[in-house]
């Protein structure tokens, strides 16, 4: 096989494929399960060509039964394999809820059995998918001890976090944002690398306001930060990357520096991850706070379909800018 000497840009989606491919070729315990991932290559084509390369048993097409798929993957994982399950859409993860929250999450705590399982969950809106093809279900699992949750925002992180997830000895839900699949790309390192689970990253340094966010909203925050720069407001963007366990140190350091904070997520507001972060800051950074903590999140409704409704639903750079101006003036 020849690889082009010229570095080319890799999309977020291709980065996910690369991570799977590399891990499968270097670790024969790794195998894939899911609906339509075989000859079809998955609903989004992440595993296109994988079955030709790795055969039918390592790229296993399953019946339409999420609970059964996850349960089987848990069993295989406990026997020493490293299954990576694809949910066709993150929305359907609810069909596998008890296997994830009861079996996968509690095994090690109760009786010490490791469940090195990865569930890939294509999530998020902005694609006119309506109430059942757009959700951000991370908060359901954020509340479950024993699960690790990651949500990359760039191609680099997408690849590095997936490799880290596959090598992890715990169940990891890997939230991949559908809107970013073919919209973000970058040149990736040729050598093997991982992005460690549990480490946030400052995607833009700033001194006045910290935006704490993840997933597609990182790009919304960066867009807002650029616009605010013109107004002389210097905003820092913290990309959580891992949602559980949270990298609270990076979040707190940023807020101690700026004193002002916006927590931004695409998921609905009530009971979302933002609430937890706000509570941590209130508990542990109280003296550093120089303004009320602001949360920007989707309103508490299902994700609507019609473009004007979905536009209304999704947080936008404009919302961040409006909040930031108030904080700057506070």
């Amino acid at each position: 096989m020849t690889t082009s000497a010229i570095a080319h840009e890799v999309t977020y989606l291709e980065a996910i494929s690369q991570a799977l491919d590399e891990e499968m070729s270097q670790d024969e315990r790794v195998f894939l399960m899911g609906e339509d991932i075989g000859p079809y290559g998955g609903a989004f084509r992440v595993t296109e060509g994988f079955q030709d390369k790795y055969g039918e048993w390592r790229v296993l097409d399953t019946p339409l039964a999420e609970s059964g798929i996850v349960g089987a993957a848990i069993g295989a994982a406990m026997m020493g394999l490293r299954p990576v399950v694809e949910m066709q859409f993150a929305d359907f993860i609810s069909c596998a809820f008890d296997q994830i929250t009861e079996m996968a999450a509690k095994n090690h705590y109760r009786w010490g059995a490791e469940v090195p399982l990865v569930i890939r969950a294509p999530f998020g809106g902005g694609t006119h998918g309506g109430p059942f093809h757009s959700v951000c279900p991370e908060a359901w699992f954020f509340h479950t001890p024993g699960l690790k949750l990651v949500a990359p925002s760039t191609a680099y992180d997408a690849k590095g976090l997936l490799k880290a997830a596959i090598r992890d000895h715990n169940p990891v839900i890997y939230f991949e944002h559908k809107f970013l699949y073919r919209r973000v790309k970058e040149v990736l390192p040729a050598e093997d690398y991982i992005v460690p689970i549990g480490e946030a990253e400052i995607k833009r340094t700033g001194s006045e306001i910290s935006v704490i966010t993840y997933g597609a909203m990182v790009h919304v925050a960066l867009e807002a930060a650029e616009a605010l720069d013109q107004e002389g407001i210097d905003m820092e963007v913290v990309d959580l990357r891992t949602l559980s366990p949270l990298d609270t140190d990076t979040v707190k350091d940023s807020v101690r520096k700026t004193g002002k904070v916006i927590i931004l997520h695409e998921d609905t507001k009530t009971g979302g991850i933002g609430g937890e972060i706000a509570a941590i800051l209130a508990e542990e950074c109280f003296n550093a706070l120089d303004a009320p903590i602001m949360r920007i999140a989707a309103p508490d409704i299902p994700v609507p379909y019609s473009p004007p409704l979905e536009d209304f639903f999704l947080p936008k750079a404009h919302d961040v800018i409006t909040a930031a101006r108030q904080l700057a003036a506070y």
Partner: protein, 393 residues
């Protein structure tokens, strides 16, 4: 009437599509809902039916090209069939309102943030003496810092002062507290910040001012205009010296504005000679004299000390030979000019007495490397040592 043909969204994650084939030639007629073109995405290849009956008057995207969803591909001139001006773009409107922008915070004057309380407590500030400038008259961190500034009692920043914590703010009997002037404070802050920001490296050169002398005396000038001249020519040869650092990249400045450090009673000011590269020696001489005089008498306008792209410090005026100056941020280099002294130097295998000076260039190693700095300095040196200076240069 014309209708737009746009790249449709063929699948949830699809961001772009490729035109495989135009099925109707340019100018030809097409019926509503008949196939107009073939489009391919990562997922599928499909015939796209025409949204109206009419002639294909314009093809903007050619076969084989890949464009984002929503891109205008072609235009159709059409005869309205049923009178309803249907257009392929009519369904999607831009958002007018959003579900989040209504979030507001309010600040009543007596609502102090924890950070403000913390700062006030640390410095034992009586908050009733401060007028707030924040939302609805709130007292902000900045208000407290400015108050302290006036009192001359605390560092600019709350906890981590740039100047480090003073040992104690109450002097003993053998000590005396000299309040900091705001100029002192600013200088201190900027100097420390520059050292923390840039990767300072200094390189030293020596220049022979023999050929400068006659012209200098003829025009009654100091050495400085000649040095400015040499620097601007060096910058023309190595424009990177006239840049500044930002996280996104280097910002190369197209105008050459030279700052000249002037010692004043309370400290130091750096007035700026704008477009120094476009001025001759006489103009430079006049301008430097004027700026320094007004700097000392505190008559400079704010814009006269702003916008410098490179700075020269003439420490030789007080007899200093060479120095390691601190870069004036966000510039990337500063040139120190030592005293011009008559020294014995070897010229053409004999010893001669020449007016010599040491030149010290402090540069930011993040931006340029030693080789570039030295090439720049060689250029400055060779300009200064040019065989004969034109009065009008």
């Amino acid at each position: 009437m014309a209708t737009d043909i746009v790249m449709p969204q063929l699948g949830e994650s699809i961001a772009e599509g490729t035109i495989v084939k135009w099925l109707v030639p340019l100018g030809a007629q097409v019926k509503k809902d008949d196939s107009l073109l073939e489009v391919e995405t990562d997922k599928v290849a499909l015939d796209i039916p025409s949204p109206a009956t009419g002639a294909l008057t314009e093809i903007l995207i050619q076969e084989g090209e890949t464009v984002p969803v929503g891109t205008l591909l072609a235009r159709l001139d059409y005869h309205s069939e049923s009178g309803n001006g249907d257009s392929a773009t009519s369904t999607i409107q831009s958002p007018v309102s959003s579900g989040h922008g209504h979030l507001t915070i309010s600040g009543s004057p007596d609502l102090l943030s924890p950070a403000v309380r913390d700062l006030a407590a640390k410095h034992q500030v009586d908050l009733s003496r401060i007028t707030g400038t924040g939302m609805n008259g709130r007292i902000t961190k900045k208000d407290i810092l400015e108050f302290l500034d006036k009192q001359g009692l605390a560092g600019k920043e709350s906890g981590d002062s740039l100047m480090g914590q003073p040992a104690s703010v109450t002097p003993s009997l053998e000590e005396e507290l000299i309040p900091l002037s705001s100029m002192r404070r600013t200088i201190a802050e900027r100097m420390v910040k520059s050292r923390q920001t840039a990767a300072h490296v200094v390189t030293f050169f020596e220049a022979d001012f023999t050929t400068v002398e006659p012209t200098r005396q003829e025009l009654h000038l100091t050495y400085l205009p000649f040095v400015i001249k040499a620097v601007t020519q060096g910058i023309h040869a190595f424009p990177i010296l006239n840049s500044s650092w930002s996280n996104k990249g280097l910002i190369l400045k197209h105008s050459v504005h030279i700052g000249v450090a002037v010692a004043v009673e309370e400290g130091l000011l750096v007035p700026v000679v704008k477009h120094a590269d476009q001025k001759d020696l006489r103009q430079l001489g006049q301008e430097v004299a004027d700026l320094s005089q007004r700097a000392r008498s505190k008559q400079l306008q704010p814009e006269e000390v702003q916008g410098g792209t490179f700075t020269i410090t003439n420490h030789g005026g007080t007899g200093s030979l060479f120095s390691t100056p601190i870069i004036n941020q966000p510039q990337i280099a500063i040139l120190g000019v030592g005293a011009v002294l008559r020294r014995a130097v070897v010229v053409n295998e004999s010893i001669e007495i020449r007016p010599m000076a040491y030149l010290s260039l402090a540069f930011d190693h993040r931006v340029i490397d030693g080789a570039t700095a030295d090439q720049f300095m060689l250029m400055v040196k060779s300009v200064l040592e040019q065989p004969s200076w034109e009065v009008t240069s």
